[in-house]
């Protein structure tokens, strides 16, 4: 057997333990849960929740590629999500018609446009410091919303664009029964989106663990040293931004497929989409990709079941006005939670868990 270099040896060791730990078992469990979900739960609300978790987890992960792995904060991520949604909506609704070809074309268009735009935006990061980059991406995102609203002839304005799905994916589709389970268009749509999201997520995992991804982490930790080692920082940052934004756009396209409707506020909105992504990644844990899943699940479950929670509270404590007031303003609570997480748990859920888990090992090696 040929001699392994230290790095090759280390990587081989890493790979050996891959299938044996708790993390792997957990992953299998959740994948099975999501696969069987529409069969177990017939309520549309749950299926809808699951799809949203899948899509937003992918979006959050794509944001984490920029923030957690490359150290770049961009407020434009929501915009790319919206661009993807709009591309699909254009080809399936306003300027085209529902068909499989248009769906695929729409997603390709989303990827292409976001690639070009992301590359252009990454040029800005050369000229300015990180703080200014954040400001500028915010400005551009707001500009996008204004354009989408004002150029209503082109974009459908505030009313947005509706579309329906082709063939087997359409809401009305009935495919008979299989093993006693009704096959509906919604169900097929669910699986399409689920598998697409899983695919995108695995693509991102591949990206992070590739040699390119490791260089990005080096840049995040100490960009001057990375530069000194010979890596053209701009080139790598640019690749990372472009990749992350393409993923975001594809997630947006899938969102449009499920919801069947796009408009500036709900698809491009900074205080809607971008805020959610930020909350998800910070609470879930940045720099962990999986943190995005946890953050997305936490946020979406809370948002979905909040009305029920409010009803419960109203019935259980009919006179506690303050409680009701506070529950009404869930965003306030999330804001406070956000600040607390940033101060006390900057690594988020996933990050803190990973830290706790690695500590015993450090003790053992002594």
């Amino acid at each position: 057997m040929p001699e392994l270099t230290p790095i090759q040896y280390y990587r081989a060791q890493e790979r050996k333990g891959r299938f044996k730990n708790a993390g792997f078992a957990l992953r299998i469990f959740f994948i099975c849960l999501f696969l069987l979900l529409p069969i177990i739960f017939s309520s549309f609300k749950i299926v809808d929740l699951a799809v949203k978790i899948a899509i937003f987890a992918t979006l959050a992960a794509s944001f984490d590629v920029l923030l957690g792995y490359t150290g770049i904060l961009s407020f434009g991520h929501g915009m790319f999500f919206g661009i993807g949604a709009y591309c699909v909506a254009f080809l399936m609704g306003k300027y085209g018609s529902p068909s499989y070809a248009n769906l695929i074309l729409g997603l390709c268009l989303a990827a292409a446009i976001s690639m070009v735009l992301a590359f252009l935006i990454s040029f800005l990061s050369l000229r300015v410091r990180a703080i200014f980059f954040a400001m500028i991406t915010l400005a551009i995102a707001e500009l996008a919303i204004i354009l989408a609203t004002k150029l209503s002839g082109f974009t459908g304005g505030e009313d947005g664009i509706s579309m329906s799905m082709p063939g087997v994916l359409s809401v009305a589709f009935r495919g008979g029964e299989f093993l006693g389970i009704k096959i509906t268009g919604r169900m097929l749509c669910y699986y399409l989106i689920l598998f697409s999201c899983m695919g995108l997520f695995m693509l991102m995992l591949r990206f992070i663990h590739s040699p390119l991804g490791r260089v990005l982490q080096a840049i995040r930790d100490n960009s001057q040293r990375a530069e000194a080692l010979g890596y053209k920082v701009f080139y790598y940052e640019s690749m990372s931004i472009t990749f992350g934004c393409i993923m975001a756009a594809l997630a947006g396209g899938l969102y449009a497929v499920w919801v069947g409707y796009v408009n500036p506020e709900s698809s491009l909105g900074v205080m809607t989409i971008m805020l959610d992504v930020l909350l998800m990644v910070i609470i879930g844990g940045m720099g962990t990709l999986y943190g995005g899943i946890i953050g997305a699940a936490f946020l979406k479950i809370t948002q979905t079941f909040l009305p029920d929670l409010q009803d419960m509270a109203r019935n259980a404590f009919p006179n506690a006005d303050l409680l009701h007031q506070v529950l009404e303003r869930w965003l306030l609570l999330f804001g406070v939670l956000f600040i607390l997480v940033v101060i006390f748990f900057p690594k988020g859920v996933m990050g803190t868990v990973r830290e706790r888990m690695s500590k015993p090992h450090a003790g053992r090696s002594r």
Binding site: G71, I131, R329, L332, V336, F338
Partner: protein
């Protein structure tokens, strides 16, 4: 590296260019309208200056990007709104004294309330993330969410009409040109504020220490000054300025709504980038450029109004990324 000569040259070119562009509309629109637009633009510029100068100096001195500045701006407007509601008869009265009085009280309320809010914000939240730009942005963003939601809780989620004191409404007729009163007041207030800020910075010891701190924080500390106290003070002052700007702007636009901070925060950032950070003069010039550009374009090409300032920002970033009047670091 661009030499000092070329730097000053590019600044003069940009300002000259801006002045020429601002005179162009005269070709197309009547003189009267031009005057009205110019006054509106200058007024808006002055109000933007009030918000942006706080951001600029805080960024220059403390290296903190305060995303919560917009929310503080909104709180100032709402604080004034409450005063106007409480003293409604004064607002409606046809007496200059009462009107100025209620305006003054509203301004005082805004400045004090938000100044204290700023102090609390700085000590409890911003101080924990000094040096880490990413977390500063995140935490002040989080603070914005909380502050805006609190506005919704306290004052309700709807847009409200902001009353204008009676004698401040209306106009003067000068040589057949309509000159609105309130914008002129805004211009005067803004110029006065700029004058006060410059006086503080140039003549008082505190101001000199702040300017020194913008250039070299550590040295100021090593010379015996409690830099943390300075930070809290400057932050509170910036917040108070934003609050005053918010009050004045809400009267100008005749409305208050919970999200009003975010639009103007964006403008403030653009002004800081154009004007250069750490400098009050830069904020003034940048703000006037933004205000005038917005008003001229809004009249002539309404659809382009929102985008024109972002365009200006990008142009400045390409030609002179440090801004017009940066304070050297």
């Amino acid at each position: 590296m661009v030499s000092k000569v070329a730097r000053n040259w590019s600044r003069k070119v940009i300002i000259a260019g801006a002045l020429i562009l601002f005179l162009l509309p005269l070709i197309q629109i009547p003189f009267r309208t031009y005057v009205t637009l110019t006054i509106a633009g200058l007024a808006m510029g002055m109000l933007l200056f009030l918000v942006a100068s706080g951001v600029s100096i805080i960024l220059g001195l403390m290296d903190v990007l305060n995303f919560a500045h917009g929310a503080l701006f909104a709180w100032g407007a709402y604080a004034g709104f409450s005063v106007f509601q409480w003293l409604a008869p004064w607002v409606r009265a046809d007496s200059v004294a009462l009107n100025i009085g209620v305006f003054g009280l509203a301004a005082l309320a805004a400045i004090l309330a938000v100044g204290i809010l700023g102090m609390v914000l700085e000590r409890m939240i911003v101080r924990r993330v000094y040096g880490n730009h990413l977390f500063q942005i995140l935490i002040t963003f989080g603070a914005t969410i909380v502050l805006v939601e609190l506005i919704r809780v306290i004052w309700g989620p709807n847009d409200e009409v902001m009353p204008t004191p009676l004698t401040l409404q209306g106009h003067w007729d000068v040589f057949d040109v309509v000159i609105l009163r309130y914008p002129v007041l805004c211009i005067a207030l803004g110029a006065a504020t700029y004058g006060i800020i410059q006086w503080i910075l140039k003549q008082t010891k505190l101001g000199i220490i702040v300017r020194a701190g913008v250039e070299n924080r550590d040295m100021v500390q090593a010379m015996g000054y409690n830099i943390y106290l300075l930070f809290t003070g400057v932050f509170a002052f910036g917040a108070a300025l934003a609050a005053f700007g918010g009050l004045a702007m809400s009267i100008f636009t005749m409305q208050v709504y919970p999200d009003m901070g975010s639009t103007y925060l964006l403008f403030a950032f653009i002004v800081v980038i154009i004007g250069g950070l750490g400098s009050a003069t830069g904020s003034l010039v940048g703000a006037l450029i933004v205000g005038l550009a917005y008003n001229y374009v809004a009249y002539m090409l309404p659809w382009a109004a929102a985008g024109v300032n972002i365009l200006v920002m990008i142009v400045i970033l390409l030609i002179r990324p440090t801004g017009l009047f940066p304070v050297g670091k």
